[in-house]
Symmetry: C2
Subunit: 231 residues, 2 copies
DNA sequence: TTCAATATATGATATACATCAGTTTTTGAG
DNA sequence: CTCAAAAACTGATGTATATCATATATTGAA
C-alpha cells in the first residue's frame, strides 16, 4: 500500500485565471474604468490583514506572499505570481476587511479592481461568477494540499517541495537566482531559518543541488522529487 | 504587543448557508426534482476522495468529518454539521472528482444535488452564484484559520480549541456525550491518541473539565479559552 | 454470556526540530 | 570605500510530542 496521492507544500497557483474572458467589451470597459495599476517594490506590503478591502487585486507582474499573522507567528498561505487574482475572499460582503496580508517578494505590479464594480459584474454576469467560483475552488484545493504537507511531511520533504516549486512554477528553470532569504524559505516550508540552512547544506553534500549564495541549481531533480514525496 | 487575532483549530462552519433563498419557486422545484436524500450510519463514507463527483451535498442532519488522505496520513480539513454544504469544490468542471473524503461521525442525512443541475442554476442565476461565492470564501477563511492553528499552536491549545468548539458549535452545551473516540479527537487536533489521553488527563487534574468515559463537562470555560489562545 | 476485537490508559524511550549563543559573510546607505 | 546592520552559518542544548510496549477496560457479535 503506497501513497495514493501526492501533495506539495508549495502553493503557486497553476490554475489559469480565465474569468475576464467571460466579460463583454462593455463590461471590460466598465472594469477597466474601475481599475488602477500600482507598483510595489520588493518587500512592500500590498494588503494588510484586517484593513478595509476596497478592491480585488490581479498580479500583473511579480511574485507575492500571502500570509496570516497573529502578531507572533506567520503562516504563508500561498505565493501568487503573474496572472493570478489576490484578495478574492473579500468578495463576501460580510468580510469587509482583508482576511490575510500580502507582501511582494519582487518588484510587483498590481491591478486594483474596485470591489463594488467587481461585485456588480458578479451579480449581472453569471458566466463571470461561475468562472470566479472555479478559481475559488481551485484555490481551496491547492491550499488544502499545502495544509496537508505542512502538517504531515517532515522538513526535508517540505524544503524539497519548495525548491521544486520555485524551479517548476516560478522560475521555470533548473538554475535560478533566488530572491528569497533563508528566513523566507523557512516561512514557506514552516521551519526555522537555521533548519533551512542545515538542510540546504545536506542537499548540497548529497549532490542534489548546487548552491552559491543566491544561486541555486538543481542537480538531481528525480531524487529531490522522491524526497518531496517520501519525506 | 499581544496577539492581534485569534484563530481556532476547530472548523465547524458558523457561516449560514443562504444560497437557496436566492432561488425562485420554479428554480427550487427544479432543484428538488434533482435532489435525493440519503441516510448514513455512524462511520460510513459519504464521499471518497478521487471518485467521480456527480453531486453537491447538503447536510440535512448530522455531523461529518471532511478529510484528506494519502494512504498513510489523514488530515481533517473540517467538520460539517446540520445545514451546511459539502463538496462545493466539485463545482469546478475541471475537478470532476472529489478533492476530499467525508465520513459521518453520527447518523447523518445528506441531500445529494445533481451537479449538472446545480451548475445550471449557477449559470442562470447570478444571485445564487454570488451567494455560493460567499460560502466558498467564508469556507476558505475558516480553513485558513485552522491551518494556522495546526501549524503554530501547540497541543494543549489545539485540544482546548476542539473541546470548546464541540461545546459551542456542535452540542451547544457545557456538558455532552462525545460520540468521538480519542483517536478522532487526535485527528481533529493533529496529534496522537496517546497525547490526547495524556492532555485530557491533565485538563481533568487541573479541574478544567470533568470527564467520565464519553461524558464531558466543561468546568472552567474561561481558563480553557485562555489555553486555547496562548497554547 | 462469552470472548475477541477494539478503545483507553500509562510509562519508557526516541527524535525531529526549535532555540540560543556565537562567528563569519554579505549588503547597502552615506 | 567604510562601516554598521542584516543575513548566513555553525554548534550545543532543550523540548514537545511521536512511538513503542504493555496493561486494562469496553464493546459488540456469535
Amino acid at each position: 500500500m503506497g501513497k495514493d496521492k501526492q501533495y506539495s507544500s508549495c502553493t503557486v497557483s497553476s490554475y489559469p485565471c480565465r474569468c475576464f474572458e467571460k466579460l463583454s467589451n462593455e463590461e471590460m470597459d466598465f472594469l477597466n474604468s474601475n481599475t488602477v495599476s500600482v507598483k510595489y517594490k520588493k518587500g512592500e506590503i500590498i494588503c494588510k490583514q484586517g484593513s478595509y478591502a476596497s478592491h480585488i487585486m490581479f498580479i500583473e507582474l511579480g511574485l507575492v506572499k500571502v500570509f496570516l499573522d497573529d502578531g507572533i507567528n506567520c503562516l504563508v498561505l500561498k505565493m501568487i505570481s503573474t496572472g493570478n487574482m489576490l484578495g478574492l475572499s473579500a468578495i463576501n460582503e460580510e468580510h469587509t476587511t482583508f482576511q490575510y496580508s500580502a507582501m511582494s517578494y519582487l518588484d510587483t505590479v498590481v491591478n486594483q479592481i474596485n470591489i463594488v464594480a467587481f461585485r456588480k459584474l458578479l451579480n449581472t454576469n453569471s458566466e463571470f461568477a461561475k468562472s470566479v467560483i472555479d478559481i475559488l475552488s481551485a484555490n481551496s484545493v491547492q491550499i488544502n494540499g499545502r495544509f496537508f504537507c505542512l502538517t504531515h511531511k517532515q522538513s526535508y520533504g517540505r524544503l524539497a517541495d519548495i525548491i521544486l516549486c520555485l524551479a517548476d512554477r516560478v522560475f521555470k528553470a533548473k538554475e535560478f537566482d533566488l530572491p528569497l532569504s533563508r528566513k523566507d524559505l523557512g516561512e514557506l516550508s514552516s521551519m526555522s531559518p537555521e533548519t533551512v540552512i542545515r538542510m540546504l547544506k545536506k542537499f548540497k553534500e548529497d549532490k542534489l543541488i548546487e548552491m552559491d549564495g543566491k544561486n541555486f541549481k538543481i542537480l538531481d531533480y528525480d531524487r529531490l522529487k522522491r524526497i518531496s514525496e517520501t519525506g
